[in-house]
Symmetry: C2
Amino acid sequence: MTSALNNRFTAVPFTKVRVDDAFWAPRMAVNRERTIPHQYRMCLETGRIGAYALDWRPGMEPAPHVFWDSDVAKWIEAAAYSLATHPDPALDALLDATIARIASAQQPDGYLNPHFTVVEPDKRWTNLRDLHELYCAGHLIEAAAAHFQATGKRALLDVMRRYADYIERVFGTGPGQMRGYCGHEEIELALVKLARATGEARYLALAQYFVDERGRQPYYFDAEAQARGENPATSYMGRYEYCQAHLPVREQREVVGHAVRAMYLYAAMADLAGETGDAALLAACEALWADLTLKKLYLTGGIGPSRHNEGFTGHYDLPNETAYAETCAAIGLVFWAHRMLQLDCDGRYADVMERALYNGALSGVSLDGTTFFYENPLASTGARHRQDWFGCACCPPNVARLLASLGGYIYGEREDALAVHLYVQSRVETGLAALRVETRYPWDGAVRITVDPRAARFTLRLRVPGWCREYRLAVNGAPLEAPVERGYLCLARDWAAGDTVTLELAMPVERLEAHPTVQADVGRVALQRGPLVYCLEAVDHEVDVRHIVLPEDAALTPRFDQALLGGVTVLEGRAAALDETAWAGTLYRPVQDPVCRPTPLRAIPYYAWDNREPGAMTVWVRR
Amino acid sequence: MTSALNNRFTAVPFTKVRVDDAFWAPRMAVNRERTIPHQYRMCLETGRIGAYALDWRPGMEPAPHVFWDSDVAKWIEAAAYSLATHPDPALDALLDATIARIASAQQPDGYLNPHFTVVEPDKRWTNLRDLHELYCAGHLIEAAAAHFQATGKRALLDVMRRYADYIERVFGTGPGQMRGYCGHEEIELALVKLARATGEARYLALAQYFVDERGRQPYYFDAEAQARGENPATSYMGRYEYCQAHLPVREQREVVGHAVRAMYLYAAMADLAGETGDAALLAACEALWADLTLKKLYLTGGIGPSRHNEGFTGHYDLPNETAYAETCAAIGLVFWAHRMLQLDCDGRYADVMERALYNGALSGVSLDGTTFFYENPLASTGARHRQDWFGCACCPPNVARLLASLGGYIYGEREDALAVHLYVQSRVETGLAALRVETRYPWDGAVRITVDPRAARFTLRLRVPGWCREYRLAVNGAPLEAPVERGYLCLARDWAAGDTVTLELAMPVERLEAHPTVQADVGRVALQRGPLVYCLEAVDHEVDVRHIVLPEDAALTPRFDQALLGGVTVLEGRAAALDETAWAGTLYRPVQDPVCRPTPLRAIPYYAWDNREPGAMTVWVRR
């Protein structure tokens, strides 16, 4: 496998990064110590682990569900990542045992799916559109690649290779093969990982097949529905925009349908564009990126406003209170952005990755690591709270695997360059250098990097975040102007051991406004400082947060509060509150000058909301 | 039947009112000449009329649907009303023939429902919760009462009496009776009409039974689901708030669930409260009214913001673009308000009735009478348009029956008083007087009433609309101060033939704002003049209507344009438009002073939108 893209970077894997900062390290510890054990327990108690015994018989409740494998797989992935950076013999043994259970459910032909083995054995591959069969395979493949990468153990990898080999025999354009693909994308990006883990290009070719076949006419899903005796027109979600199978992927220009499906597909497209240099695939990725980020992205990095299709609607349709903004979708956006970022190290991708990571994805898990948001609205009347599990439990283990592998999103490398995408206090080892990064980011914009070179000369690329409008750079204490390329400061020099680079990113409080066509944000501002989007919570205010008006000239002061929410920088100031009492007995009235009284305002980072007393919340504040 | 409410008024029936104004009379003519024939054709072509032949056999498509009867019934009601004021032998004959078809489908025991006679004959009365069986009966009963009232013919009335008698035997608290009630309220108010049409109090008692039984524990719908072998917890729409069966009706204080169902129930509750003087029922009605009108009512009189349950959500949740605001729900609100208004002639009820009638209900039909809105959003990106019919076709014939019976909403009477609720140019005949009302309302607030008394002394009650802040009253040209009681000017005097009363209602353009908790309307104003809510349509503007900003001091001038939209008063002025070009390449940015350019603004009445070139629309404009 060689790349046709000369600027292509590779992510430095999490196994080479040791995160020890004050922001992420405690979250990763909670993830390891509480979230991962909690999720195993939930998988066990709900029958998801036991399902691999294949001892279900008709009448037993619950029957193994079509997407249960994916929950177990994401848990394995999270646990494996965790194991790689924090050895834990008990967890190691639990993983081995769980993998053995899974392996025992593999059929002689390689097939592996409890639902279609014991519940509907005659329905294998009969409804790729709705029943998540290849999606589950994909998640198990990702788990296998992760477990191998983390532990070097091949048990699950071998199982999933056998399954992938079987899938390769079943699907394709050859005689006797099914020309199908999955309604819920996932296996495509998983096969890329499998190709990388095994070094076998044929898995990449299989991924390419699934991507290329998607959306071609005549539609496979039409034929498949007819074969089931169903009218394709009565499909669950109308035509195939829902699963991005309405057009061949290279012709797609608008982000449509189910948001998680979209992200997983686009991530695979970016992977393949990187591997093959396919210009048409890259052009589709870039057009889809522009459509998403200029017209369909919440300030929090959340995506997919509608509960109806768990996904996208029209341009600039970004309602706050009803924002679906599924945790998995924000995580999917991190995946896609991370892959786009590897293509040519363009900070636009890192900006969106950072936005989603620090806000709309991180909000998916409570500070104590045991409750989870499926939806991440930007305003709440007080009724939205995290839960400890879901019948459709995709989000909790998705957050767990993201946090456990966070180290893998920080750095990128190329033969002659080492890039710092995110500022997270950590140590990293690569062929070019070992870096020690020290910072209090995201609470503070000061970053100090100590370089221990392994190569005499290389370019250190330091991202200037899109939110940053002023910065100062110095090497060994001497101020320096360095060229900026696609949002990265480029320090090309002969490095000496102990060289220090300091970067001071000015991090003032920003008031942001939304594009005028975003109707939900008319007359409102949002607060951001550094990468963090802020919100107002009822618990911090004596008045209804929906009645708070932020005057244009009100000073807002950041203050770090170690005792609050695990340690956060709050924004404080004086605002005004509309007097609701003047409205007794009426819902509409002729316009009057508003009656306001002064009120203190305190904003907290959005990711930390709903960790105290329940109440209303809003990101967008009246101006 | 006697009333315990001493102030109770009775609506002067449409048969005694002749509307000849410039606003409603042309709409009623279009309704008669185009809408009613169009809807008959649709009922015929879709199989709704043919279904009464009971010749459906398994395999034939489409099978008679569970709610088809209600569409035919509302068409009959509309046609009958029309016939009463505009004799038409062909329509008369068509009604007779259609009624004969319906009658032929009646079973020996009185039962009448094609679906449960030929499609699922073994399912009669097995799923009152979901399958609209009593709802259909209710609509056919309303049709029967209307046809009898309009024509004096008893054919359908006799059929429906037999059906009602059968229902009376089946349902009730006696031994061997089912203690059920319908998931979709309707039969309750229909039985009140049947009692009035026949003079038989037992139909009122049956209505009372259905109202009283609703929401009692143990829940009938639970038992019914269990009898079907279903788990009641997996009901289509969760627990029974959806159909207002979560609590006994007298304990209900919050407007919940499906909006049309709610309105039909509350209408029946108001009917029964009026008939019986039941204070607990009246208190529930009043509490529900306050909840609806102070926290859940769109400015247009639309109600029920959510597509999910076709109904209500939380307090102050009134999104504009996604407003469901079903046409039938606004019409249902007209029904309920009209009944509340009879209880003690309180102008608050007339205000809401007028708001719904002139805005959110009237918007349901195009000016040419052949296309219909199901949903009535208060903003559109341009993709919402009226259709000529719907699979679930409740709204089109509901508008038709409302327009055909409009005369019945204008006047009310009591032994000693005659009330004018709505200002519509018309003639009315009652026992107290004949009135000639002349006005250009809603385009102008001048009203002239010529009195031809039939009784020497009575009180003429003239409504001062809630929107009106200044008025002048004169009798025979002499200015007069008259006492105002619950929003009505009370002119108690000895009347002479030819007495004239003139009322001048000042009708300036108003800028309205919404309660501060309504998040969708933050930073926005709406325009209203008289009873009409206005909107901006793309076709009238060179800039995106979502970018138009209305300065506080911009003058807005009403101008009547006979050539536009059948003749409307437009509001015109100078506004500003945000410059979107400054936003190329970004969705969010630090707050800047807005760049605006002047732009002419033209607002049209909301009811008339989407009758020209398709495009964006908004009721609420940036301030």
